[in-house]
């Protein structure tokens, strides 16, 4: 039995494996993960993306600690730092309001510390990005595997369902739904309800993207010899799905979820920008961008900072995702 990924002659990887093998110890078989990791390590951009992602997660988790160091608070007003006539931070130049206490300046109107708002905003962005992706991946994988493995009317039914979801005007629906959600529902209230609703909207309507890919992969894998062999040995459908198909689907799932996270972060930012995201005063990058619009000419840095935060995050996840795809599935290059 072979695994599909190391079967073809991977011209790039093999000489290295051979060289390493000769240099030190006896040639030994390497697992799929080891090969992928070796490929990934050589992709400088992907590693850089990965490092930034880890840093971002660490910053989001350590937000309370980090803000303690600078002494800022995401909700505390510092109106003594605001020029009341123009509502902008006191001082001249585009870096008005920047100081050791407020390393990224202060928000126009309220004087809240931008640095701590960015950190706490990262929590929301990453939380929603990850959770929504998890929802999509679980739904998409289940539907994709079932559709691809069983085929027939099951496939037709699930595929048409995916088409319906893909044709759904998601943004309009999200705006409408987020506008009418009550103050408390499903045992949740306030911000936790908002997060749950956003996760649901973003996750539940994006699963067909990953579902289609998984379905296609399953269709291809289903016809492979090792699946036939397992079946002829009397393996149950359950065994085939969990032991033969899913391990081989791990690579595309990992790659596409990494690529979905930034899309979902952007979507959350867009919803917050349009005013249906997290409720104030909880910071969110999209909301910060929206707030910055009237001040772009008098306090441009207030627009640049959250914009950069979104840009860096999305870029890092995309680089990492691309690198992962190249490493796990070199044929896709």
């Amino acid at each position: 039995m072979t695994s599909p990924l190391d079967a073809p002659s991977t011209a790039v990887a093999q000489p290295e494996a051979v060289l390493q093998g000769i240099g030190r110890k006896a040639i030994e078989g390497r697992s799929l993960g080891q090969i992928a990791w070796a490929r990934l390590k050589r992709d400088k951009l992907a590693i850089a993306g990965g490092v930034v992602v880890i840093l971002l997660i660490a910053m989001a988790l350590l937000a309370p600690l980090l803000t303690k160091i600078t002494g800022g608070s995401p909700t505390e007003f510092n109106q003594d730092l605001i020029d009341p006539t123009f509502s902008k931070p006191k001082g001249d130049g585009i870096f008005a309001g920047f100081s050791w206490d407020h390393p990224l300046g202060v928000e126009p109107r309220s004087g809240r510390d931008v640095f701590s708002r960015i950190l706490y905003g990262a929590q929301i962005s990453l939380l929603i990005g990850f959770l929504a992706t998890a929802v999509s991946v679980v739904l998409g994988t289940v539907a994709g595997v079932i559709a691809g493995y069983f085929g027939g009317w099951v496939d037709t039914f699930l595929s048409r369902t995916m088409d319906v979801f893909l044709a759904f005007p998601l943004l309009l629906f999200a705006l409408a739904l987020a506008g009418v959600i009550p103050d408390s529902a499903f045992g949740l209230s306030g911000n936790s309800l908002r997060v749950a609703v956003l996760v649901f909207i973003i996750g539940f309507f994006n699963w067909p993207y990953i579902g289609r890919i998984i379905r296609g992969q399953t269709l291809a894998l289903r016809e492979r010899e090792f699946v036939d062999a397992a079946r002829s040995l009397g393996a149950s459908g359950r065994w085939v799905i969990f032991r033969e198909l899913l391990p081989n689907l791990f690579a595309p799932i990992l790659v596409y979820s990494t690529l979905m996270i930034p899309t979902n972060i952007l979507f959350e930012a867009a919803l917050s920008f349009l005013g249906v995201g997290i409720r104030p005063p909880t910071p969110s990058w999209g909301k910060m961008l929206a707030d910055a619009v009237p001040f772009y000419s008098v306090a441009p840095m207030y627009m640049v900072v959250p914009g950069l935060a979104i840009f860096i995050t999305v870029m890092a996840f995309n680089l990492l995702g691309d690198g992962l795809r190249d490493a796990l599935d070199p044929r896709a290059r």
Partner: protein, 575 residues
């Protein structure tokens, strides 16, 4: 330059106005300086000719005088129509006075205030030369009863006149069936009211009394060409694009309420707000018709350049920003808890959230803004520098039986960034006194039909505090306060008395004001209502709104008409 002679004339006029209105500093009439048009006529001149270029970020709801509810539209309608009365064309508080326009005098109240009679000026003609008669005024008011055809305008006449269930002239073309107005002769208009209404002369200034000839009325299509009685007539109106007027040859030149200096008026519609600012500062526009104030970018340019600043004005718009505490939602059913919020509120923080002293406005302590008849200055809940007094707030909390504070919710319109910023500022200020408030944001569409204006929603969701903003339909205490604090206006939907204040004493004061035909007495009552409402502590006014507006130095005879809070376009000319 022929400016000198004109300047002297302008000065004389200003002095005359200051003498009767008692408002403002009359000394700086004529010259362009910062805020000069707030209290005086800038660039007084009799020079004729030129085109007035205006722009609007939005569009009219309808240019039909009987079918519009925008302040700028009421201001502008005076170009092409004469209502029975109008606001005195004068700067400062003198502009709050009503003077006769199509009528020869103010309303004559008889039958205990239930009958109001106006005599029309003879020789007023429509633009086609047909003389205006009392029937045309009666018809104009009658057609506002047809809410299905003309849905936009206010319903004061429908509510006040004793006309049974008259369905409007489109269903009942026989005007004799409309009993709300009688026309004993061609120049007499007699209004029959269900109950006395002291402020009736203010209602008569609404463009709904601008005469409409029944033969020319085409219902909802009348706005394609309203028949002018004013100094200008409609040349063309293309919704979403432009509105052009030219001189009306049949205008009654004995009319002293408006001028006919310009050759043409050109209003561009649906123009981007920042584009308007840029064109204003470049001089290719004369003014923003809506007069709500320039955007942040233009504001910093204007205020930092003395040459631009002298052409700008910073006047009250007539709007009040405030928030209310629902007296039916615990713990605000206890006046001491309401007082705690009154004292804890940092009004300066709210002012900064709304744009600061220039773009936002002045810190408010009363419900009536200073440019409303009946305004009296007082502050029942004074705090140091208006920044809140935590000690006094805690005292009130203790008196309320909640020394450790309580939790509540703040309702606001989440698509209004300034309101959200103000909500966050209030949240911060209340937290200092131990009051934990959670912000609930809802869309501004439906704010008064489904959310703040629906008491059931407020109770069900335990909303203690709701943001609110208000501008009067006519600038008296009655026009401003009645919909806000008269307990009989509380309704299940579209409720503007959000705090659900229902005090028999206040309700009785409104009736007393309505029944009074003495201006001084009415004015005094408005002040009493304001104070009584503030004593009840459920309304927290925090900002008398102001806007920074720019006037092209080319415009002549410019001043701010206080009753609309925007430039009085009926008087301007071009240099």
């Amino acid at each position: 330059m022929r400016r000198k002679a004109a300047l002297a004339a302008g000065l004389a006029l200003v002095l005359a106005i200051t003498a009767c209105g008692g408002g403002g500093n009359g000394g700086n009439g004529g010259t362009a300086e910062f805020n000069a048009a707030d209290t005086s006529i800038v660039n007084a001149s009799t020079k004729a000719g030129g085109t007035l270029n205006l722009a609007l970020n939005d569009d009219w709801d309808s240019i039909d005088p009987g079918n519009t509810y925008y302040g700028f539209a009421w201001d502008f309608a005076r170009f092409y129509g004469r209502a029975l009365t109008m606001f005195k064309p004068a700067p400062g508080t003198a502009g709050l006075e009503v003077v006769p326009d199509l009528a020869t005098g103010l309303g004559e109240f008889t039958d205990g205030g239930r009958t109001v009679t106006y005599k029309l000026r003879p020789n007023v003609k429509f633009e086609d030369g047909t003389p205006v008669t009392s029937k045309d005024v009666k018809y104009a008011v009658a057609r506002t009863y047809a809410r299905d055809v003309l849905p936009n305008g206010p319903t004061y006449f429908v509510d006040l006149l004793d006309a049974g269930d008259y369905p409007g002239p489109y269903q009942q073309p026989d005007l004799n069936q409309f009993t709300g107005i009688q026309t004993p002769d061609d120049l007499t208009v007699v209004f029959k009211l269900k109950a006395p209404f002291g402020d009736f002369d203010y209602l008569a200034a609404n463009p709904q009394t601008i005469p409409v000839p029944q033969a020319k009325d085409t219902g909802a299509k009348y706005q394609e060409h309203p028949m002018s009685t004013g100094s200008y007539k409609v040349d063309s109106y293309v919704p979403g694009k432009e509105f052009i007027l030219s001189k009306n040859p049949n205008w009654d030149t004995s009319d002293t309420n408006r001028k006919q200096l310009l050759d043409k008026i050109d209003v561009k519609l649906k123009v981007n707000a920042e584009d308007i600012d840029n064109r204003l500062l470049a001089g290719s526009l004369d003014a923003d018709l809506a007069g709500t104030g320039v955007q942040a970018a233009a504001q910093s340019r204007i205020l930092s350049d003395p040459n631009l600043k002298k052409n700008a004005d910073n006047s009250f718009t007539g709007r009040l920003w405030f928030f209310v505490m629902d007296e039916k939602v615990a713990p605000f059913d206890n006046i001491e808890c309401r007082k705690a919020v009154q004292y804890a509120t940092d009004k300066v923080a709210l002012q900064t959230a709304f744009g600061g002293p220039i773009a936002g406005g002045e810190v408010a302590t009363t419900m009536l803004p200073p440019n409303i008849v009946g305004y009296q200055k007082f502050d029942l809940y004074q705090t140091p520098e208006a920044k809140g007094d935590i000690a006094k707030a805690k005292e009130a909390l203790a008196a309320c039986g909640m020394p450790n504070g309580f939790s509540t919710k703040i309702l606001l319109r989440s698509d209004r960034p300034k309101e959200v910023a103000a909500g966050e500022a209030l949240q911060q200020a209340l937290a200092k006194a131990g009051i934990q408030a959670e912000i609930t944001g809802v869309p501004s569409g439906g704010y008064f039909t489904r959310f703040a204006g629906a008491p059931e929603y407020m109770h069900a969701n335990n909303i203690g505090i709701a943001f609110h903003g208000w501008q009067a339909d006519w600038p008296t205490g009655y026009g401003f306060l009645q919909q806000l604090v008269d307990g009989r206006t509380i309704k299940a939907q579209g409720n503007t008395n959000v705090q659900e204040m229902d005090l028999p004493a206040i309700n009785a004061l409104f009736d007393k004001a309505a029944a009074s035909t003495d201006v001084a007495e009415r004015t005094a009552i408005y002040g009493q209502i304001d104070r009584a409402a503030m004593e009840h502590a459920s309304v927290v006014p925090f900002l008398y709104a102001k806007g920074l507006v720019y006037r092209n130095p080319q415009m002549t005879n410019v001043y701010i008409q206080y009753s609309y809070g925007i430039y009085d376009f009926s008087q301007v000319g071009k240099q």
